[in-house]
Amino acid sequence: MDLFDFEPGREGYYGEYGGCFLPEILTTTIEELKAAFQDIKHDPSFWQEFEQLMQSYSGRPTPVSHLANLSAKLGGAQIYVKREDLNHTGSHKINNVMGQGLLCKRLGKKRVIAETGAGQHGFATATMAARFGFDCKIYMGAVDVARQRPNVFWMENLGAEVVAVQDGQQTLKDAINECLRDWVTNMHDTHYVLGTAAGPHPFPEMVSYFQSIIGREARGQIQKVAGKLPDRVFACVGGGSNAMGLFQGFLDDQQVELIGCEAGGLGPGEGNHASRLAYKDASVGVAQGFKTYFLQNKDGNMLHTKSVAAGLDYIGVNPALVHLWERERVRFEAVTDAEVTEALKLCMKTEGLIPALESSHAFARAIEEAPKMSKDEVILINQSGRGDKDIFTVADALDDDHWKEFIKVKAEHYGAE
């Protein structure tokens, strides 16, 4: 299945979803970007250059590991994990960012901008900009800046300027709007490094392309370590980039079931979660440059979203995943905040793994389903990011008293200075 072999006149569409809905002023910039992307896509030396860079800079290929303890404890399927958390900067975000960095060089642009929610993508972009010598501005909702200071600290120290966006809900979607505003002003020297497989064409295709390195590696690795293809593959879905990255490796294997795990937050009901497909609170709309399922009201204004994982806390979802969901190729499930923290605790205690809260959504669903599967069945989970880096948010999610005490002492210490 080639998702990106578009029908004439339907470029950038996955079934009814996707497209490119941008102000006229960006038409030329988008055309230029599409042409540059097509060039690299059809240039075999580009993928080679990309793979080598990811090997030397980010430690790829990341391994696929068997979780023997967790599998035994649950008593069902054998669980394996794709360790995207072992990438430099701690998540799969670096795959897309380095790819777009190489592209930006080919475009001859000297400045990059990016939105960030949790800060992972902003952190990765700041790293890339430092490595390639680009000026870098990161837009981040003021609410996210307040709750993710460690990532802001790193971005600033890597040489990026971090702008706290004061509009709207002051979260990821508002940071995207602010990037679009910067881009319509500075497109002549600036590339917009969109962080997820969403937004206007060609971003969903382009980000999926760079992230496909996950699935390309994983398909061979799992056959080697498990002796067969997985029966079920789990990935968390915010915008959809890590899921698209892994799923692409198995799209043509009809026997492999693909499961996208969304942020169930407090559970169903408007404003309680960020689940576009698994719950029934979203509908089709056009915003932020593309057509997809959005969490919105009947007038088309966006709803508030809620999740313990900032990286999944987004109103829309990758258009190709919606298309695959409608065709029943990808199943969608929602995982609540409470289930996420339980899964994280179990992973830490049984396997010594610390998945990010985002990735813990995929673990939670796999943990739920594994006991009902047979012992010779195989599960593959994408551990898209590491949780230890986000110690403040994880400590909050786990409501850790010792941590709170430490912060109080630290605050007193700073206060006394």
Binding site: G19, C20, F21, L22, P23, E24, I25, L26, T27, T28, T29, D167, G168, K173, I176, N177, L180, R181, V184, T185, N186, M187, H188, G285, V286, A287, Q288, G289, K291, F294, Q296, K298, D299, G300, N301, M302
Partner: protein
């Protein structure tokens, strides 16, 4: 086509027509009416009524705030159409809907155009709907004598400007510079050249917006376009001192 006659008749008495802008329900519908009364007195020819949207990504800070507060205060699409009906009955100027495509998409193309027509609107400006996606909406609108307003921008190639010209109806909205609404545009020779090119290519009159805020701007535009479009500058005046400041603003333009 009805717009052509209207524009021609309004142009008999002045060199440059004027379009202004209000964000529906910000700060309130009552305040909107007061703004519109002053605009009518100043002799504006068109008014864009912006339907507030939660993700106004083509707007600058002041309109972003206005959209956000209007949405938060519960302004609905239905209320905006009711307001449009009231406005188009009360005033002589023509009224257009300005907003984002999701508002149109959620209603459905035909329902949107029908509602716009019933409310006395003459056209719509939807900046995030590119021509490639606009086919069915524009076709139906034209069949109902509702003008879909297209935009020309300084980053467009000549070839693209020709394509836009072919889709034009009513008038063309020429974006004077890169960027979002609000902020200053230096009306220099380069801008003049671009505006002349657009006017030359466009089969319908041209209106120019983005950064139009002073009498000098209008004097400049009178030489290069058919209409000036004032958005942020009027809202800024209202924010500074409501009716008094807005009157002074139109006074400074030589219109009151």
């Amino acid at each position: 086509m009805a717009l052509n006659d209207y524009i021609a008749s309004r142009k008999q008495n002045k060199d440059l027509l004027l379009m202004t802008h209000v964000v529906c329900g910000y700060p309130s519908f009552d305040a909107n009416l007061k703004e519109l009364e002053i605009m009518a007195e100043a002799g504006v020819d068109f008014v864009e009524l912006q339907f507030p949207f939660s993700e106004p990504s083509a707007d600058g800070p002041l309109f972003v705030k206005a959209n956000q507060i209007a949405v938060e205060s519960g302004v609905t699409v239905e209320q905006c159409f009711e307001f449009m009906a009231k406005v188009s009955q009360r005033f002589d100027f023509k009224v257009l809907m300005m907003g984002y495509y999701n508002t149109v998409f959620k209603m459905g193309h035909e329902a949107f155009v029908d509602a716009l027509k019933a409310a006395g609107g003459c056209g719509f400006i939807v900046p995030d709907l590119p021509l490639e996606e606009a086919g069915t909406l524009h076709e139906y609108a034209k069949s109902q004598d509702i003008a879909p307003i297209v935009l020309m921008t300084p980053t467009n190639t000549d070839e693209r400007l020709q394509t836009i010209a072919k889709a034009a109806d009513g008038f063309v909205y020429v974006v004077a510079r890169r960027g979002v609404t609000g902020g200053k545009t230096e009306m220099d020779a380069e801008v003049g050249e671009f505006l002349d090119k657009c006017r030359d290519i466009s089969p319908v009159p041209t209106g120019v917006g983005f950064g139009v805020s002073a009498k000098e701007d209008l004097d400049f535009l009178a030489k290069h376009a058919d209409m000036g479009i004032i958005g942020t500058a009027a809202l800024k005046a209202w924010e500074e001192g409501e009716e008094k400041a807005l009157r002074e603003f139109f006074g400074s333009l030589g219109l009151l």
